[in-house]
């Protein structure tokens, strides 16, 4: 049996694009997803007619898979619009890798667009508030992450200044990325002095809520050789769901990344110390700290110390979230696809001023819900 459901490196990302990062007024979410999709197909030099699998997660349309298929005028053999929040796109990379190798499909398109900043969402979303939590008025989803952060600080002595290091590192990377939405200087003192929202998380500990679209195209590795750019291979992928609401999280300081991470690394046959780039979903400053621990970059409880003294900023010991992350580049509600695009750009050597020299291996780790759904993808060049 194949470990993880597909053979290491049997498929690859051959096209990647972003569109409309920051402000994208006057259009709908599906317009944006379609534009990113066409840009990614052009990047791969693949025609729309070749796409036979479509994976999306529409922000306000529960039946968004069908919506995007109709919009693009294609009849995919596989269509998905799953409900694992921001982690959906890492799950799609895994599902596409399996379906490609199985011969079910030949060309997978993963696309997403959302413009909540320009086109504020309607009052009623696609999720309901839990009747067991709503009466206590937690800010959704911020207070849930704040509760997890409080527990981590209590058990491991993690400090607000260490959380602030994550925001400052993201901003320093964003300053090297012309596409990042927020690029003005940010210091530890700025983060600590920002308005407190839900202790211990202040306004600068929270991701952006802006517009953006992204897409990637995946094919089998034999087909990938004929594409326009160097293929970025999927070496391993795994997914774990542990709960829906924070009150049911089995352990507030250990996420499902402790399951998905080791499984994805084992399938890829690599270890965290070999990774050149870690793209870790940063909805809040606590999340990269948890994922660094759970993915095995440092022991449990050491994440705060690991990120200190600029260690994940430009020039640090591990490059994390080089696009500026959800904290400083883009976060239109579900950010996971942007992780895969940035990993692809870095592994191709297309990242300009922020390029990590000789980058060959990356991990993209997506998070959904309130630390509820965790999906890890290991990507490699010249694997």
């Amino acid at each position: 049996m194949r470990q993880g459901g597909f053979t290491r490196g049997s498929s690859a990302i051959v096209g990647a694009a972003t569109f409309g990062i920051g402000k994208c007024p006057g259009v709908s979410a599906v317009d944006m997803a379609a534009q990113a999709a066409l840009l990614a197909l052009a990047d791969a030099d693949i025609g729309l007619g070749e796409v036979d699998a479509l994976y999306t997660s529409a922000p306000y349309e529960a039946l968004g898979g069908m919506e995007l298929a109709e919009y693009l005028g294609i009849a995919p053999k596989v269509t998905d619009c799953n409900r694992t929040g921001g982690s959906a796109f890492e799950v799609y990379a895994q599902q596409a890798a399996i379906a490609l190798e199985a011969g079910l499909i030949d060309c997978a398109l993963i696309a997403y667009g959302s413009n909540p900043a320009s086109n504020p969402p309607p009052g009623v979303g696609m999720t309901r508030q839990s009747p067991w939590e709503a009466p206590y008025r937690p800010l959704a989803p911020l207070s849930s992450y704040a509760l997890a952060a409080s527990r981590h600080m209590h058990l491991y002595g993690t400090t607000r200044a260490q959380l602030a290091e994550v925001a400052v590192a993201a901003r320093k990377w964003a300053q090297l990325n012309p596409e990042a939405a927020v690029r003005d200087p940010l210091t530890i003192e700025d983060v600590l002095g920002a308005r407190m929202v839900s202790d211990p998380l202040g306004a600068r500990d929270c991701c952006l809520f802006n517009d953006g679209a992204a897409a990637v195209v995946m094919v089998r590795s034999d087909r990938a050789r004929d594409c326009a750019k160097a293929p970025v291979h999927i070496l391993g992928a795994a997914h774990a769901v542990t709960h829906r609401e924070i009150s049911s999280m089995p352990d507030l300081t250990v996420t499902g990344a402790a399951i998905s991470g080791p499984a994805a690394f084992a399938q890829a046959g690599v270890t965290p110390d070999q990774i050149d780039l870690a793209m870790l979903y940063d909805a809040f400053t606590i999340t990269p700290i948890l994922f660094l621990e759970d993915l095995g970059f440092c022991p449990k409880g050491e994440g705060g110390r690991f990120v200190s003294d600029g260690r994940i900023a430009p020039g640090g010991s591990l490059a994390v979230n080089t696009n500026g992350g959800g904290l400083s580049c883009v976060h239109p509600g579900m950010y996971g696809l942007f992780l895969l695009v940035e990993a692809t750009r870095q592994l191709r050597g297309e990242a300009g001023e922020r390029q990590i020299s000789g980058a060959r291996l990356a991990v993209a780790h997506g998070n959904g819900g309130v630390l509820s759904s965790e999906a890890t993808v290991i990507l490699g060049r010249d694997w």
Binding site: R137, P138, L147, S150, S198, D199
Partner: protein, 122 residues
Amino acid sequence: MTPFLQPEAEWRAHLAEGRFMLQRSRATGGHVFYPRIAEPGTGAQDLEWVEASGDGTIHAVTVVRKKDPADSYNVVLVELAEGPRLMSRVDGIAADEVRIGMAVSARIVEEDGKPLLVFVPA
């Protein structure tokens, strides 16, 4: 045929009568909260209602900050003596002074015309 358990409705009916109830599996002895039709993990459906001790410990805490500090409020996760964890609020103490590890006791208060489970320092 035994009428199908109505987990949330039955729990709220107990609460309205002043009782904080948990479910417990007869076979495994495990306590369940929030109420459901089977014990998570085992699928055991032999659940019975038992009164909670009301004892718990603060497991995690946040304070939701409002423009007027008087309007700020705490949101906590309480670990019950019986094992399950739940979201609640600690009354009878300044929002800022709730600490992880504090012993707390359950109280049923009325809020917006409905009974609500909260905790106070033990």
